[in-house]
């Protein structure tokens, strides 16, 4: 799959990328996104014209030093309400289909 994708690098394999993103798409969506994404990526191509040799990448707008706090447990008020948001619940635990046979 990856090899096939690489060979088509000039175009976007929308369905392959959608699968990486855990997203089922309809045929209509694939067709819609195909043109739109190529249009957007075509616009983004202009970044290639800049010389960025020796430029450090910016991951954050401000330089953040490592932030430490004391390693102590803090009480989260209202934790008992968290299971109310579970789509499927069993004895305060999230219920899911069997993962390992």
């Amino acid at each position: 799959m990856t090899g096939q994708y690489r060979e088509n690098a000039e175009g976007v394999d929308v369905r392959y990328v959608a699968n990486l993103a855990r997203l089922d798409l309809t045929d209509e969506e694939v067709e819609l996104f195909q043109g739109q994404l190529e249009n957007i990526l075509g616009y983004v191509e202009q970044l290639q014209e800049l010389n960025v040799d020796g430029i450090e990448p910016t991951a954050h707008a401000i330089s953040v030093d490592n932030v430490f706090r004391r390693d102590e447990a803090l009480l989260f008020e209202g934790a008992e309400n968290i299971p109310k948001n579970f789509p499927a619940e069993n004895q305060q635990l999230v219920s899911v289909p069997k993962i390992i046979e």
Partner: protein, 489 residues
């Protein structure tokens, strides 16, 4: 009373302190205003009337007993992306429809600690992705000045409610202009503090290196009042800055003698609406008359800002939104295994714009493309930051348009996402460079739509920026104009 919904936050503080109105009066007037206007504006997605009225009555009792907290008994609106315990927080998404918040965002907790009432939730583009508030699974919010036009986005509900006087003030969030652009389209004041000035804890993440909580208000003083409360360090957000919170209201009255305002031609982009450039140029002249010095500056890499932004923002979004897998919360769809559940839940729950950005973001991060897109965009981000560092060496604030055009018709950019993205050219640089940005009214188009100007300040420069905005506002009258929603009701 009848007209308390038209007051500013500062105005209501005075009224309450003098005993000229009660909190119940205020909440009743705001609810009545919502009843009269929101059927057409569609700003609110959820209103908690009973709780708001009960809290108002309790606030009045506390005031009678000597409580004088800053926001005691004043109702505020909240963008549907910030958690308020017990309220929905669906971020405009079908996927999060069943969700109820189990805690308060730090920004919300700070407002509540000052006595504010969280009256209702305001519409937005799904997860903050959009510039029109059309990308909401709830409804399409309308511009109060012309209900055929978009209110801007993504905090379009917050901006429209404040402009329509159906909210005294509102919280918003800004990742690439989501507070400032709707403020411009709706004719109110939008303030995005510097990155890290306000805690993001409890703000549903879109692009974590760009997101910031901010405000939509009727004037600049209200923005200063709210920032004093919202700003500060938070042990639950390691990017929330330790730097001391200033007394932002105290310096508002200082005049502008000696202040240097930078003007960069780069922001007056090709295709800019003539009414917008004219309004902003008049604001430049006005600043000169107030004693400010206008200096030429330049942001040479501005033309790369949109490309840089849409690579970085979508990449971060694709990872942040991976959490919506339908397992622990959200509207889970059936599947034989967790992956099938996830694929089906996301397909049914996300709207088109969100899917588009997730796919784009996944693509630019995928094997073989990371260096060409994501890493390169981060390097160009450094170049853009450097441009602003140089510009702010010779000026205290920069004056630019907020958006190249006034509000446009509903539906006009839906089929061409790139066209919508290009409209963010003036606002995304502040997020990429971590700057603070203020959007405030500076005129009206020939068609009668509000036009905003943007003041940009260096990171941590909130006090000076708010003062520069306030001095303009108090010597002009644009911010006092109101849409005619009530009259045509």
């Amino acid at each position: 009373m009848g007209d308390l919904h038209t007051y500013t936050l500062a105005g209501l503080q005075g009224m309450l302190a003098d005993g000229r109105c009660s909190s119940v009066d205020i909440v009743n007037d705001v609810l009545a205003s919502i009843d009269r206007t929101d059927g057409r504006v569609q700003a609110y997605v959820d209103i908690d009337r009973e709780t708001a009225l009960a809290e108002a009555a309790a606030s009045d009792k506390m005031r009678a007993e000597g409580d004088s907290r800053m926001l005691l008994g004043i109702p505020l609106g909240v963008k549907d992306i910030l958690n308020v315990e017990g309220q929905p927080c669906s971020c405009g998404s079908k996927l999060l429809k069943p969700y109820r918040s189990v805690y308060d965002a730090t920004s919300v907790a700070k407002l509540k600690a000052e006595g504010a009432i969280m009256l209702g939730r305001l519409n937005m583009d799904e997860f903050g992705m959009g510039s029109t508030t059309e990308n909401s699974s709830d409804q399409v919010t309308r511009n109060p000045w012309d209900v055929g036009k978009v209110p801007g986005g993504s905090s379009g509900g917050s901006a429209a409610a404040v402009a329509a006087d159906s909210a005294i003030a509102a919280l918003g969030s800004d990742t690439g202009g989501s507070i400032r652009q709707p403020a411009s389209f709706c004719g109110c004041v939008g303030f995005k503090p510097s990155y890290g000035r306000v805690s993001r804890f409890g703000l549903t993440a879109y692009a974590s290196s760009l997101d910031q909580v901010g405000t939509l208000t009727k004037d600049v003083r209200d923005a200063a009042i709210l920032l004093e409360i919202l700003a500060g360090n938070d042990h639950r957000d390691s990017t929330a800055l330790e730097t001391p919170v200033e007394d932002y209201s105290a310096v508002l009255e200082q005049d502008l003698n000696g202040v240097r305002i930078g003007l960069a031609k780069d922001f007056f982009v090709e295709g800019i609406h003539a009414d917008v450039s004219e309004a902003v140029n008049k604001a430049v002249e006005h600043y000169q008359s107030l004693g400010a010095e206008i200096v030429d500056v330049s942001i040479p890499h501005l033309k790369y800002a949109i490309a840089t932004y849409y690579v970085i923002a979508t990449a971060e979004a694709s990872t942040n939104l991976a959490r919506y897998d339908g397992i622990r919360y959200g509207d889970r769809k059936d599947g034989d295994n967790p992956i099938a559940i996830s694929c089906a839940t996301r397909a049914a729950g996300f709207g088109t714009e969100v899917k588009r950005r997730i796919i784009l973001g996944t693509y630019v991060l995928s094997s073989g493309y990371y260096d060409a897109y994501y890493l390169r965009a981060q390097k160009v981000r450094s170049l853009l930051r450097r441009d602003f560092e140089q510009a702010f060496a010779s000026c205290d604030a920069m004056l630019t348009p907020v958006a190249p055009t006034p509000a446009y018709p509903i539906g006009s950019v839906l089929s061409d996402p790139l066209e919508m993205y290009l409209g963010d050219i003036c606002t995304v640089p502040a997020n990429l460079a971590g700057l603070c940005g203020l959007s405030q009214p500076c005129g009206f188009s020939a068609e009668g739509l509000p036009i905003g100007m943007q003041l940009l300040g260096p990171a941590g420069g909130e006090a000076s920026l708010l003062r520069i905005g306030y001095q303009y506002e108090q010597s002009t009258e644009w911010h006092l104009r109101k849409p005619e929603l009530e009259v045509s009701a």
